[in-house]
Amino acid sequence: MDKKSATTQIKTNSLKASTTPVIEISGLDKWYRNDGLEFHALENITIQVSKGEFVAIVGPSGSGKSTLMNIIGCLDRYDKGTYKLSGQDVSKLSDIELAHYRGKVIGFVFQSFNLLERYTVLDNVLLPSFYVPVEKPRERALELLKMLDIADKANNLPSQISGGQKQRVAIARSLMTDPDLLLADEPTGNLDSKTGKVVLEIFNKLHEMGKTVLLITHDVAIAGYAHRQINILDGAIVK
């Protein structure tokens, strides 16, 4: 990664975790209801993630980590408790405000990359700027691609690049709006271990640059890259 260009592009407030919380979740509950059946997916979740932290939420399949990630990512609503994202009580936000929050405050990195196959790498990175105002979006997108060492693939289609490169494009896209929080859901799940390590190193670097990173994984080894781990099992935080 070209550190010099990265530091010029990614605004950093501090290199160390500050005490300002990005995520404040307290006593959060989530039920799924279907055909009269009720399932308690999350129970009394209390989490706090401070600005600049690199935290992993670890849990096996069905533990509720994806549900938690969806709530943290403002993609889903919860039933009880409070959740403040960058100081804002999420339950008070309308659907439109939630969409703006998702675009401006959170950067998503998915396991399956979720790149648009008919768009070039550059256009994929530019996509968030369709919905959130970004100053000089093209220049920023190119800088991000350069920072992630894939500037030479800017005009390629996703089908013409490797899995690791696709995840770099997805990371570049997640950084486009300079969000407070990077939310990575099993980001190495579709990659071989070597490429996976490279991607995790990128998250580490981004954290060093001051980004708050929340990694969701079932793999304890991967969670080891984070500086703090939160274990979840059967919808509850394991102390």
């Binding site: 990512g73 993609l75 979720n114 008919r118 996509l127 369709f130 919905y131």
Partner: protein, 405 residues
Amino acid sequence: MITKLVKVALRDILANKMRSFLTVLGILIGISSVTMMVSIGGSAEEYINQSITSKLGKNLVMIQPGKQSSGGGVSISFSAVLSNFTDIEYGAVKNLVPEYIDYVSRRLNTTALINYAGNEEVALLFVVDPEYFRIVDIQLQSGRYFRIGSDNAKEVIIGQGLARKLFKMQEAVGKRITINARDFVVVGVVEDVGQAAFGGNVLEAYFDTRTYRDSFNKPATVNAVVIGAKETVPIDVLKKQLDRNLRTAHNLLPKEDADFSITTQADIIETSATILGTVTLFITVISAISLLVGGIGIMNIMLVSVKERVKEIGLRKAIGATNQDIQTQILIESVLFSLIGGALGIVLGVASALVIEQLGGLPLFISTNAVITSLGVSSFVGIVFGLYPAIQAGRLSPIEALRSN
């Protein structure tokens, strides 16, 4: 934002060229037929109005046997075809010269076998009074018209088509021809007024009424009385006066239906406009059905397109797109489909109209109203039929959408 969405939509439309083409086809056909038919209709109306004004004269009034239709136009009934006037009606109308009328002429349409130097042709024969050429504008090519006040015996005027057939390049005026085995002299050649199917000319000839009756010993039969009204007399006043005179001549009671029709030039224009309007309406209805089918095609494709892009919609929502953003994007795609179809339809419709007008010898006319309306209708179809897929797309839950394959 809208500019970006238009670019995105265009990119998506162009990415599936064949599917996009098939999608816009319905709209293309609908819009092109509307544009073409409205333009041709306008051109035909222009042509008919020009023809009626120039060929028939501004103050033409025609009286024919048969009931007057309620719309003021001529009702072509079986009884009207069978019945004829005699000189009674002519006499009743002639009384109005010169107070209401400048000229009046009887007209009988018949056919005759015309022979010149062994060359035989069947021609349409118009048996008229010399005044006829003062009422109806039929251009003289050579020679002269019949003389008013003269008996014009043994004289015939022929149309230029017949002149060419009989005399080829020779001068027709002064030549002797045989009509139904009797000799006549050509005194004038006039332009042809009738047109046969496929643009060919009908062979035409004119006789003075008196000459025709005397030569062939024919009874006083008249198909129509043609009147050149005085410009200073309001047409309604003249019509009332004509009605009164003819009712008296036919011994009709005031409440009895007239067994004749009085047709003014305005009536003829109105009748032709009504016919054209009906044809245009018919085509418009068919085009509307085509647009409806086209619109359903667009809706179908947009629904498929939304289904195909569920995951993409989920991603867009995750990175900041609101429900409205997604709805707008789908709606723009739908409207673009319709507008592209509409624009291509207009080009095709205008081109077809121009070609058909050119081939048909009609004045070149493109209805700008049709073009503007077509564009409006295209957008409307796009919005209406894009709305449901757009709402469906906007309502997708981002989590469900992201989970889908």
